[in-house]
């Protein structure tokens, strides 16, 4: 398969079991380069485990994950410098200033011209005045922007986002979404976004994968999902899937 046809992320019959219990149970999907996909599901649906396997943090029980042509986690060091992620469940060191944190990660990712890149990101994400403040002294919204800056430092081709706007107020969340849209448009990156926020997924994603109990329950474009379930919002579709209502029942 040549590079032109290589999916950015390919997940094939992926299974992860913990003590016999399936957290992810035989899922398969491929994400085209430059696409934005939402991974929807309730708590325990397997979204975070799926993302962790894509990042190479968790070894699958069976099945394969390939990112930018590299099998994860075995070949992860071939591609980790071309990926990045953001999650509210991971923090930046609180005592370090924003600039110190970003410069350490920039060096880890071998970013060229570190100072210039940090200044540029700080300007883009409205962080310039906070660069020399300890990260722990920032508000939740400012910390999220710092995490997003870290995630964008190396201009990743694959960006994994685990509930990127959780615990943010609607204005800040909207602001973060607009920056993600802009990054995708400018860099042509592939975005995979796990979220509980249906509005966010509806706005950002051209494709939605709905997971339940470790399996893929549905996988389509938002508009087609709405049409098939006869609903007006993805939240209603999500509730139909979560509560086990079939498309035929919903249509009646």
């Amino acid at each position: 398969m040549d590079a032109q046809n290589t999916p950015a992320i390919a997940v094939d019959q992926l299974v992860k079991r913990y003590k016999g219990l399936a957290a992810v149970d035989g899922i398969t999907f491929r994400l085209a380069p430059g696409s934005v996909t939402g991974l929807l599901g309730g708590n325990g649906a397997g979204k975070t485990t799926t993302i962790a396997m894509i990042m190479g943090l968790v070894t699958p029980t069976s099945g394969t994950v390939t990112v930018l042509g590299a099998e994860m986690p075995r070949q992860r060091y071939r591609v980790l410098h071309r990926m990045n992620f953001e999650s509210p469940y991971v923090d930046m060191p609180m005592r370090l200033t924003v600039r110190q944190n970003l410069s350490v990660f920039a060096q880890l990712y071998a970013v060229a011209d570190i100072d210039q890149r940090i200044e540029r990101l700080a300007a883009d994400l409205d962080l310039t005045e906070f660069l020399d403040r300890p990260t722990g002294k920032l508000s939740a919204g400012q910390k999220t922007r710092v995490s997003l800056s870290k995630a964008l430092l190396n201009k990743p081709e694959v960006l994994l986002l685990d509930e990127p706007t959780a615990s943010l107020d609607p204005d800040t969340a909207d602001w973060v979404r607009s920056r993600l849209e802009r990054y995708r448009a400018e860099e042509g990156a592939t975005l995979l976004l796990a979220s509980h926020n249906m509005g966010e997924v509806e706005r950002l994603c051209e494709r939605v994968i709905i997971m339940k109990k470790g399996r893929i329950e549905d996988d389509d474009k938002p508009a087609r999902l709405l049409a098939r379930y006869g609903r007006e919002t993805l939240e209603e579709v999500f509730l139909d899937v979560a509560r086990g209502r079939r498309q035929s029942e919903v249509a009646q």
Binding site: A8, A110, A185
Partner: protein
């Protein structure tokens, strides 16, 4: 369309083999720990405080005992020397383990493990920090030992270098093993980081000769590299003889210990990936 093409073009340029070791990434991690240390004076004070207290306590005890027992009068400096060398061993491991624990306390391990930083680079950065932290603590304390008791650790010269190299190698081996346990078991294994070295305290004969131990326990003692160092230090201070043979044996055992600890670390890391514990590092 333009963006898709751009992305696809980038995909054709996979050149990183994944086998390269980068001192630049090691330097990034050392810088990260240095920033942390610099930002917190209690952290720096903590590096000096306890070694100083311990050295003073044992030093005054030695002064008292030496005035009342002929042997100790001739063996001046054995206790203080033991204390200082024990602190190299203990603080070397703590310096390694605490830097690692800082990542867990900060919930930063996911960022680190997801970055291009290789585990071997991470371990090397922790080794460098263990020396940095040890230097901040031990250099002032060794000067205090000269001022209070006239015991000059630095006068041991090349012998000190041999003692230090062997002790720091042991402390890194223990630190590497503990880091593996922490990755695999999360902060539930934190107490190991603080206490594991005390297992070495009675067995490596820090304050007494190996001959004091029951014969069957001496076999265990001689399997631990620091035992050779403490015996060597006593030979140097009391008999004025540098036992190069003991240092060579300590080094041989250290090579085995370091290899075993590194193997255990990579196995525990592998297990952590299987168990998903890199995601969940709390208790």
């Amino acid at each position: 369309m333009r963006t898709r093409t751009k992305s696809r073009n980038r995909m054709s340029s996979i050149t990183d083999t994944g086998m390269d070791f980068s001192f630049n990434r090691v330097a990034a991690m050392v810088r990260r720990y240095w920033y942390l240390l610099r930002s917190s004076w209690p952290r720096i004070l903590d590096l000096i405080y306890w070694p100083a207290v311990q050295m003073l306590m044992w030093g005054f005890l030695q002064v008292y005992v030496s005035q009342n027992a002929g042997f100790f009068a001739q063996a001046g400096g054995v206790f203080i020397g033991s204390v200082l060398l024990w602190d190299i061993l203990f603080r070397g491991q703590l310096g390694f383990s605490i830097s690692f624990l800082e990542e867990m306390y900060a919930r930063n391990l996911g960022n680190i493990m997801m970055s291009p930083l290789r585990p071997a680079e991470f371990l090397l950065a922790l080794m460098v920090m263990s020396i940095v932290r040890l230097s901040i603590g031990m250099i002032p304390v060794s000067l205090l030992a000269i001022a209070f008791f006239g015991f000059n650790l630095w006068a041991l010269g090349l012998a000190l270098a041999a003692f230090f190299a062997n002790l720091i190698l042991t402390s890194w081996s223990v630190g590497i093993f503990v880091a593996g346990l922490l990755l695999r078991n999360g902060l539930g294994a934190e107490s190991m980081a603080w206490t594991i070295m005390f297992l070495f305290l009675p067995l490596t004969c820090v304050y007494y000769p190996v001959a004091i131990l029951p014969v069957w326990l001496q076999y265990f003692a001689w399997a631990l590299p620091p035992t050779y160092v403490f015996e060597g230090m006593r030979a140097l201070v009391t008999d004025h003889v540098f036992r190069a043979d003991l240092m060579a044996q300590a080094f041989a055992f250290n090579v085995v210990l370091f290899a075993a600890a590194s193997f255990a670390f990579f196995k525990l890391l592998q297990s952590a990936r299987v168990q998903g514990s890199l995601l969940q590092t709390s208790e």
